[in-house]
């Protein structure tokens, strides 16, 4: 349990957006569970980190929130992706993939036959 990695700086917003895109409107608890599951329980997400990030995304207009009822009939705040959020997701996903590819080429074993 103590060996789980913390979420890297800057990637949390992207994970939240992707989660909301694939699952639709979701409450904070669900987002946290989903991110942890998707990571294969390798990531540990502290609520004290997640909620300010949600607030930031909401202030920036990438997500919106409204009160609703959870699957167990509990009152909960549901977050959903806005149009601006969808665009941001596409852009950041593309950037991330690109950055990833570049880094991968650096780290990959040297395949170039001399």
């Amino acid at each position: 349990m103590g060996n789980k990695a913390d979420v890297w700086q800057g990637t949390l917003a992207l994970m939240v957006l992707k989660t909301l895109e694939s699952l639709g409107p979701l409450h904070g608890y669900g987002i946290a569970r989903r991110i942890e599951q998707t990571s294969g329980n390798l990531l540990s997400l502290n609520y004290g980190t997640l909620y300010p990030a949600l607030l930031k995304l909401e202030q920036e207009g990438s997500i919106a929130s409204e009160w609703g009822l959870s699957e167990n009939n509990r009152k909960a705040k549901f977050y959903k992706l806005t149009r601006a959020g969808r665009k941001q997701l596409q852009r950041e996903a593309r950037d991330w993939a690109q950055a990833n590819a570049i880094l991968a080429r650096f780290l990959a074993p040297n395949e170039d036959p001399a």
Partner: protein, 882 residues
């Protein structure tokens, strides 16, 4: 864009506080519930489930803190909290807030108001292009470091100097201007043709003077001041080219000057015309009636210019030894000529205001220290609750800012009122010679100065307690009985501050005392004549109508006779220049039958009618007065004053001796017929110069001052004087009717002394109040700290008297230290300001002693109240209180 939106939301978050808190609580609630439910499903016990959920949350309060920080702008939110807390604090201690604000505002008001005058007179550049290159140029001789130029000298200077791009001259003059109801004497300026071009000024309408108009026999042209154009010519634009009659002669208006044009030496001039090259004075090299203004060439310094003109003057001295002997040159910046006179008084006032600000600051600093001492426990508690030092500091800074800004705003309001009030106190005819005061008010320099003062008060109000906080360990504040050591430390600091306050108050009080004494001495200076029951009026007749001496003599006789027939007038007489005006209008004389080394003997010269000395009440020492029939047909006679007699006829009989001009030309020879006791020709604070008085009838003029001795109050006669003269000769103008005492009281000398005495007096009274309040505060605090000690002493049998002694001794020690330091400081300050003192030395023992006694008594009174409280301490209660 995105970031901007987020910031707006966060700024908005500063306000929707309550809803956010409930939403946050609800969200935490639902989050925890979901997590606990999940944990229960996974088979945990309820206690385990809850614990795990809270762990995941990372603690409710830190979670909330992180959430809040993101919802708003923490720095701003803290500031708003601090502001709200400050407002509460200040409302809880209104006396403290009001005192600090009032004291600081007073200091600010005095400083900014005085600085506005300093700025207007000494800092603000003159309203001409490139004003620093403008110089005031004049001759220099013997008693006059700045002597007038003669027209012929000016022409040579202009031709031979190599230092100036242009050199021009001006002099005052007057015209009689006829209105439908009266003939009004108006002031005029006479200038050389290039005068305005040298200043760099162009007329609003029409054109400037041209060289032809300065040449002899050139056309008579005149330019109008803006005010004259508006008031006398209705502001009509067709005025240019029109004719106007001035002193009975025809002039053509060629231009109108701009509204914002002013030239202080000719501040009241309504009409501007060219110099009359064929005037009786202008044709003589020895007649000096002009002042010069010049623009330096690029790269030439004042010293270069002075050396250059001095060389020219030396050349002229060799060429014309009779008229130009020892006539040197003087070059000073034009600003110096215009406002240099005001520098000493303004510096003294600025110094006084600065001291007042210092004492106000010290007072406020000790108030703030006392208050932060009282808040040690509050700070300790806040710090124990987790407030960082920075957070505590920010609280002090906020409080300081709020107080200082409020005080500054109040101070600026007061200053605005104060400077206009001070300006309003300047006599009207004096303000025309200070046109630089016209737009007195706030400009960027005054505001910058006010900002600096405000910054000082911010530092004072916020840094003082912060330093106090940093120096004392906050932890101590929580400890019981900790007041002992810290209280002592503060008492020492407070005592030092109060000594400073008392010393400053002493300096200001001594300054006020010395200035007050100077004013008294000045107004009671021996005049040598009776200034009471004397009415005066200036009379000017048009030269064209009164060209012959007989006409002028007849006019003078008629006017004297008419005025003497007025009810309430005992006698009347004429003089070319009224007493207590200035030393000047001099004559170079030489004594017949005495060796002469060619050095100029310069004496005041006045032309007076036969009844003059009797009318003003000057005493004849020997010989006789003039008679009314002594005119050109009789031998020339002269009356000299005692100073001239003592200086040039020591131990000799002056009566019957003869005086002539420097060459003893036959028509200049006059016989001394009388010696008059010295009276003040010059300003109140000036020495009596040697003087000669000629019979008006042997040198009559169309301008003179009429003096009337009245049996009733002279004010009652004033309106009648002008009216009687006008009835007699409608073409003769009169102006400036005033009583002799009024003239003396309103003279520039008296005004400067009076205003400095009153202002410094006000500063001193405020300083005394502040100093005494400061002393009271320190002693009262000391008593409150020593309540237990006093209780113990009394329980052990100390008498009331010894408790009084204990407290009064402490106060007495502080007061003596303050008075001692203050005495040393005041002698130093008075020495710096000795230019403003008259008839008192800078270490006037009487004043020093009186001020020391005053301060001592005030100190005793201030400490008596806390001493009585100390003596009335109930030992039982005092011991129980701790």
């Amino acid at each position: 864009m995105k970031t901007l939106r987020a910031w707006m939301m966060r700024l908005g978050g500063l306000f929707s506080n309550e809803r956010r808190e409930t939403e946050m609580a609800e969200e935490i609630q639902s989050l925890l519930e979901m997590h606990i439910a999940e944990n229960l499903r996974a088979g945990m016990t309820p206690v385990q489930a809850r614990r795990e959920a809270l762990l995941k949350l990372g603690g409710v309060e830190p979670f909330k803190e992180a959430y809040r920080d993101r919802s708003t702008v923490p720095l701003l939110e803290h500031l708003m909290l601090d502001l709200r807390f400050t407002a509460r604090q200040l409302r809880r201690t209104p006396a403290f807030a009001a005192t600090v604000m009032l004291v600081l505002a007073l200091g600010m008001c005095a400083n900014v108001a005085i600085f506005a005058f300093v700025d207007a007179a000494l800092i603000k550049p003159l309203p001409y292009p490139d004003p620093t290159r403008l110089m005031a140029v004049s001759e220099a001789s013997g008693p006059f470091p700045r002597a007038n130029l003669s027209y012929l000298d000016y022409q040579d200077w202009k031709q031979f100097n190599t230092a100036f791009r242009s050199l021009d001259v001006y002099s005052g003059g007057g015209f009689l201007f006829s209105t439908p109801t009266a003939v009004e004497p108006t002031e005029a300026g006479r200038v050389s043709a290039g005068f305005l071009r040298t200043l760099g000024v162009t007329p609003l309408l029409g054109r400037d003077f041209s060289a032809i108009e300065e040449a002899p026999g050139g056309p008579h042209v005149v330019m109008l001041s803006y005010r004259t154009w508006q008031q006398r010519f209705g502001g009509r634009s067709d005025v240019v080219g029109q004719g106007v009659t001035l002193s009975g002669e025809a002039y053509t208006v060629i231009g109108v000057l701009r509204a914002d044009f002013h030239f202080a030496p000719l501040g009241a001039a309504e009409f501007w015309t060219t110099i009359d090259q064929k005037g009786s004075c202008e044709i003589r090299r020895s007649c000096h009636n002009l002042d010069g203004v010049a623009r330096l060439k690029d790269g030439v310094t004042i010293l270069n210019a002075l050396a250059n003109l001095a060389a020219v003057a030396r050349q002229l001295e060799q060429q014309f030894p009779d008229s130009n002997r020892e006539r040197g040159a003087s070059v000073i910046p034009l600003t110096e000529e215009i406002s240099g006179n005001f520098r000493p008084i303004l510096m003294v006032l600025m110094g006084g205001a600065g001291l007042l600000l210092l004492i106000a600051s010290v007072n406020v600093a000790s108030l703030v220290l006392a208050r932060s001492e009282g808040r040690r426990r509050e700070m300790a508690v806040r710090s124990a609750m987790g407030a960082s030092l920075a957070r505590l500091w920010s609280q002090f800074v906020t409080e300081g800012l709020v107080l200082a800004l409020a005080a500054s705003a109040l101070g600026l309001l007061l200053a605005n009122w104060g400077m206009q009030a001070l300006k309003g106190l300047i006599p009207a005819d004096m303000i025309s010679s200070m046109p630089f005061l016209l737009d007195l008010g706030f400009n960027w320099r005054v505001l910058a100065y006010a900002g600096a003062v405000a910054a000082v008060s911010v530092v004072l109000l916020s840094v003082t307690p912060a330093v106090h906080l940093a120096m004392s360990r906050t932890r101590d504040g929580l400890m019981e009985g900790s007041r002992g050591s810290a209280g002592n430390a503060w008492r020492r600091l407070g005592s030092r501050l109060v000594v400073v306050e008392l010393a400053i108050a002493m300096v200001l009080l001594v300054g006020a005392g010395l200035l007050g004494k100077s004013l008294y001495r000045l107004l009671h200076v021996e005049l040598g004549f009776r200034a009471d029951h004397l009415a005066t009026i200036e009379v000017a007749a048009p030269n064209v109508r009164y060209q012959k001496n007989e006409q002028r003599i007849a006019l003078g006789r008629e006017i004297v006779r008419t005025v003497e027939s007025l009810p309430g007038v005992q006698s009347a007489a004429l003089t070319s220049l009224e007493p207590v005006s200035y030393n000047g209008n001099t004559d170079w004389i030489r004594f017949v039958e005495k060796p002469y080394d060619g050095k100029h003997i310069e004496v005041n010269e006045r032309d007076v009618s036969s009844g003059f000395f009797q009318t003003i009440g000057a005493k004849l020492v020997r010989g006789r007065y003039f008679t009314d029939d002594e005119d050109d047909s009789k031998p020339k006679v002269v009356i000299i004053n005692q100073t001239l007699a003592n200086k040039y006829f020591p131990g000799e009989e002056p009566i019957g001796r003869q005086i002539g001009d420097t060459t003893l030309s036959s028509k200049s020879i006059k016989t001394i017929i009388g010696v008059i006791e010295d009276f003040k020709d010059g300003a109140l604070d000036s020495e009596v110069w040697p003087a000669e008085y000629h019979p008006f009838n042997q040198d009559p003029d169309t301008y003179f001052v009429l003096m009337a001795r009245t049996s009733q109050k002279p004010e009652a006669v004033l309106p009648e004087l002008g009216a009687a003269i006008h009835r007699l000769h409608p073409e003769v103008g009169s102006s400036g009717e005033a009583t002799m005492e009024g003239r003396i009281n309103n003279s520039m000398t008296a005004y400067l002394h009076r205003s400095s005495a009153w202002l410094v007096g006000t500063f001193a009274a405020t300083a005394l109040l502040l100093g005494v309040v400061g002393l009271y505060g320190v002693i009262a605090y000391s008593v409150s700290q020593r309540t237990r000690e006093i209780g113990v002493r009394m329980a052990l049998g100390a008498a009331h008297g010894s408790v009084y002694r204990l407290i009064l001794k402490e106060a007495g020690w502080l007061a003596s230290l303050g008075i001692g330091l203050g005495a040393a400081g005041s002698v130093g300050a008075a020495t710096l300001a000795r230019k403003l003192l008259f008839g008192v030395s800078s270490w006037d023992v009487e004043t020093l002693f009186a001020v020391a006694v005053t301060l001592g008594i005030a100190a005793v009174v201030a400490s008596f109240v806390p001493a009585r409280r100390a003596a009335s301490v109930n030992p039982v209660e005092a011991l129980r209180a701790e």
